[in-house]
Amino acid sequence: MAKVLAADEVRALAHLARLEIEPRDVERLAHELGEILDHVACLGEVDTAGVEPMTHAVAMTLRLRDDVPGPCLPPLDGGVVVPAIIGGD
């Protein structure tokens, strides 16, 4: 029997995720999310005692860049002029 989330749990998650959900979607999500969580639960079978969690694909030190100014937006009246990025106008 697949895991099914409680309706309250789905609503609480949606709130945490800042997603408005329709009442009619709660039951569907309760099943879908439950099924996925059920599937990933098998991760618990793996013996991970003493295994360092892998947080990134390669062990690396994040690179730093030189602290030099690059090209900047043109200044205007104490502010800067930005290009239009929404709707093109």
Binding site: R18, E32, I36, G44
Partner: protein
């Protein structure tokens, strides 16, 4: 030349640099093919014919002045719509970013342009690259050019289709769990996911930051290598890019595979493996043996945990990355919200599609206090085990050969349960979790003509060996032919 769109990117660049062809005539011909095929195939969300012609004329002007425009001179390129392009609407296939015009080029786009490539337009993808069919998108329908009733794969479906149909000579995709290799395989083209950190992601719209990688899609291994040489290399603007020079790959492709040991993981050959996929794998094994490689079985014992580990880690990172779409700073904003809280929740509900919401909610679940250790931390530990499997295998073999997809392209609109859809990536995810390079190459077809590929996985930063093996398979099997749909001027 009869059909410029049948030329490889390498040939185009050579002809343009040698002034046997102009960048403008190449660009015009590809634009015409893109415009003619797009109503049927839907590879492009946006075609920038004017911008492409301006760029092509600039390449021709440089040549006329005796300058070298670069190794991709005049090569028409399609860019997946999760990679930002200055002045060209970039939506990530989402309603959330409808109409968004980026004020800058991603590093990879900047590098392509600096090498003389011509950006033709932006290609269809699953929303925020979350999907395996290019069906999870707010706009557009993208279909497989070998059979339009079937999916092209995803999430870089549009890029694969554009290359397969001759509507671009090269394309960029992104691969978080297989999104370059899987559509490449289903559409009969080459797709290359580089080592994590090999290619700058500055300007790639983030999905899962510990997994995402940009890579090339092309008709030949050589073309993909040419593009990878151009886009690879550290970038001060991406702190996760490796401080490594771009690899030199083209020479290695001719070295052959004599003396190499190739491993085939037994976990990637389940008893119920699709017959056509199994046949492609056997074909590749035979070809590599004939070419002098030794092929042996290896084991990657934690393979069955790759799918669940991925579906904890990727959604967790997605939930975090996509928190920025709040209706305030950019993106879709709900019109009728009365409180700030409602503005966030409603803008996100209206802007995101169902698959993206599902993953955000899963990610939110596994990051909750109380679930974090059991799910997220455990998945990260399992990820280390998966990487350990590969490290052990690579003490015995130089590269790994595996299937790309469980089946050839499947019918569109099948819309199985989310978990069944996720299983389409079962053979590609582990490569991302381990951060390794993976190259998908065509390796034959089904009886009905659908392409089937295989993938080669290599040690971190060893794109060179991966490319050698891919090129050897390609030499023996031949690249997949041009996809039949749509025929020039009509249907096949």
């Amino acid at each position: 030349m009869d059909d410029l769109t049948a030329l490889t990117a390498s040939a185009i660049a050579a002809h343009v640099r040698g002034r046997a062809l102009s960048a403008r005539e190449v660009t015009d011909r590809f634009l015409a093919r893109a415009a003619q095929s797009n109503p049927v195939l839907g590879a492009y969300l946006l075609l920038d014919a004017d911008g492409a012609r301006v760029a092509a004329d600039a390449v021709d002007a440089r040549l006329a002045r005796g300058e070298d425009p670069g190794p991709l001179a005049g090569v028409p390129v399609a860019v997946k719509d999760v990679i930002v392009t200055r002045g060209l609407v970039t939506t990530a296939g989402s309603r959330m970013l409808a109409g968004w015009v980026p004020p800058y080029d991603a590093t990879v786009v900047e590098r392509l342009r600096a090498a003389g490539a011509i950006v033709l337009g932006k290609t269809a993808c699953d929303e925020f690259a979350m999907g395996s069919t290019t069906e999870h998108a707010a706009v557009g329908t993208c279909v497989n050019p070998w059979d339009p009733s079937r999916v092209p794969g995803g999430s870089s479906g549009g890029s694969a289709v554009a290359v397969a149909a001759g509507a671009a000579a090269l394309a960029l995709g992104t691969d978080t769990g297989g999104s370059i290799r899987q559509p490449a395989s289903l559409c009969g083209v080459v797709g290359w996911k580089p080592t994590y950190g090999r290619v700058s992601r500055w300007g790639a719209i983030a999905f899962a930051s510990s997994l995402d990688q940009i890579g090339p899609m092309a008709t030949t291994v050589r073309d993909a290598a040419l593009a990878l040489e151009v886009i690879a290399g550290g970038d001060p603007r991406d702190a996760t890019s490796l401080d490594q020079p771009a690899p030199s790959l083209l020479d290695a492709l001719d070295h052959g595979v004599a003396g190499l040991t190739i491993g085939v993981p037994r976990e990637y050959r389940p008893d119920d493996l699709d017959a056509d996929v199994a046949a492609a794998l056997e074909r590749a094994v035979a070809v590599l043996r004939d070419a002098g490689a030794s092929v042996r079985e290896v084991s990657l014992p934690h393979t069955r945990y790759a799918l669940p580990a991925y579906y904890v880690i990727a959604p967790a990172e997605a939930a975090s990355n996509l928190a920025r779409y709040d209706g305030v700073r950019f993106g879709h904003r709900a019109a009728d919200a009365t409180t700030l809280e409602q503005l966030y929740a409603r803008s996100r509900a209206e802007g995101f599609g169902p698959e993206v919401k599902r993953r955000i909610m899963i990610g939110t679940y596994v990051l909750q206090a109380g679930a974090y250790d059991a799910y997220y931390r455990q998945a990260q530990q399992v990820r280390a085990r998966i990487r350990g499997d590969f490290d052990a295998a690579f003490t015995q073999v130089d590269a790994i050969l595996a299937p790309v997809t469980p089946t050839p392209a499947w019918p569109r609109g099948a819309s199985p349960a989310p978990l069944d859809q996720y299983r389409a990536d079962v053979f590609t995810l582990a490569c991302n979790l381990a951060g390794l390079p993976g190259l998908a190459v065509p390796c034959g077809a089904t009886a009905t003509g659908l392409p089937v590929g295989v993938q080669i996985l290599g040690r971190a930063l060893d794109e060179s060996t991966v490319g050698r093996v891919g090129a050897a398979i390609e030499r023996a099997v031949g690249p997949a032919p041009r996809a039949p749909w749509p025929a020039e001027g009509g249907h096949p």
